[in-house]
């Protein structure tokens, strides 16, 4: 369902930020299970398309994807002033908010990043850096929150339980 499954030695992340290339990387969920492949995105319009086409799915992961879309917008922006960058971010947030209407995490994530962007003092670089930080923090939180939910959920289950689930 969400941004990552952590167990044992290997960690499976469905979405993360590639520091070296400054790109968003996602497991292409439309190709599973016949192919396990990562896809890379370097602009927010493509991220919006990925959300719409369900390359990334599951409400929390969609939220993280949207936040990283804004980080891409900021990273690639040629804005000369902070105000100009904020305008571009608003435009990107507006675009991303129209990809899928139902999962609330999408809007929650966009609003959270935009709030942080508006509050950040300093110039273009400061805002750019802060937006990226927030998007990455949200990806990390998602993994932590999943573990915590797993722990709390496990307390409801008894040994030997047969559990039915749907698209989790």
């Amino acid at each position: 369902m969400a941004g990552g499954t952590v167990r044992g030695k290997k960690e499976l992340r469905t979405i993360f930020w590639d520091e070296t290339r400054g790109e968003v990387v996602m497991v292409d969920q439309t190709a599973l299970p016949s192919r396990f492949r990562y896809v890379r995105y370097s602009d927010y319009v493509a991220v919006g398309d990925a959300i719409r086409r369900m390359v990334v799915r599951g409400a929390p992961a969609i939220g993280v994807a949207a936040a990283m879309g804004l980080a891409l917008c900021a990273a690639k922006s040629k804005a000369a002033t902070r105000e100009e960058l904020l305008r571009e971010l608003e435009q990107a947030a507006n675009h991303l908010s129209k990809t899928r209407p139902t999962a609330v995490n999408l809007f929650w994530a966009l609003e959270r990043v935009m709030k942080v962007a508006r509050k950040t003092e300093g110039g273009v670089d400061a805002v750019r850096e802060r937006v990226l930080q927030e998007a990455k923090a949200m990806a990390e939180e998602d993994v932590k929150v999943n573990k915590q939910m797993g722990r709390l959920g496990a307390s409801l289950l008894a040994d030997g339980d047969r559990v039915l689930t749907l698209c989790k």
């Binding site: 929390p60 139902t102 999962a103 915590q148 039915l164 689930t165 749907l166």
Partner: protein, 166 residues
């Protein structure tokens, strides 16, 4: 599971996009959790035979005001069936999924392309010219939900607002 309990998961395939069959099962197998796939229309039958102990689903939007849960299409059907057969029905979702503002009537349910119903992969499974509907989500009322599992605690649907706003 991490606590050493052994569970067995039945994963409903989740038409039309088959995320359950394709992705949930992949993830569960990756985690070495014993898993069996069923088609979406088999759930009631398994429940009636006493083969399901609990149901756990996710959520795309939880309405704090009313306790309704909006999740992948098919959730409501599982919840109704679970209620009939007295099987606990849990929703697991992070608190970022909680909507503090809207009521069920105000929620926009995404309707996706008919083609997602007409085609499985590249194979058309309905006659050309057939019509289909494709709502991506449904709305499950609080009376069908035993508890909501969030990272901040496990609560009844009508206790969610209190949990999050103190």
């Amino acid at each position: 599971m991490e606590e050493g309990k052994k569970i067995h998961v039945y994963a409903s395939e989740t038409r039309p996009r088959l995320q359950g069959a394709r992705i949930t099962v992949f993830e569960l197998m990756y985690d070495n959790i014993p898993t069996t796939v069923i088609t979406d229309n088999m759930a009631a039958s398994l429940m009636s035979r006493g083969e399901i102990d609990k149901v756990i689903v996710g959520a795309d939007r939880i309405l704090a005001k009313t306790g309704h849960v909006i999740n992948k299409i098919g959730t409501l059907s599982l919840a109704v069936n679970a209620k009939y057969f007295n099987i606990p029905f849990y929703v697991a979702a992070p608190t970022s999924t909680v909507d503090f503002n809207l009521t069920p009537d105000e929620v926009v349910i995404e309707h996706r392309s008919e083609d997602e119903v007409h085609y499985v992969g590249r194979t058309r499974i309905t006659p050309i010219g057939a019509r289909a509907v494709n709502p991506a989500f449904d709305i499950t009322p609080p009376e069908l939900i035993s508890a909501i599992i969030t990272e901040k605690g496990v609560v009844k649907p009508d206790e969610l607002m209190k949990l999050l706003t103190g």
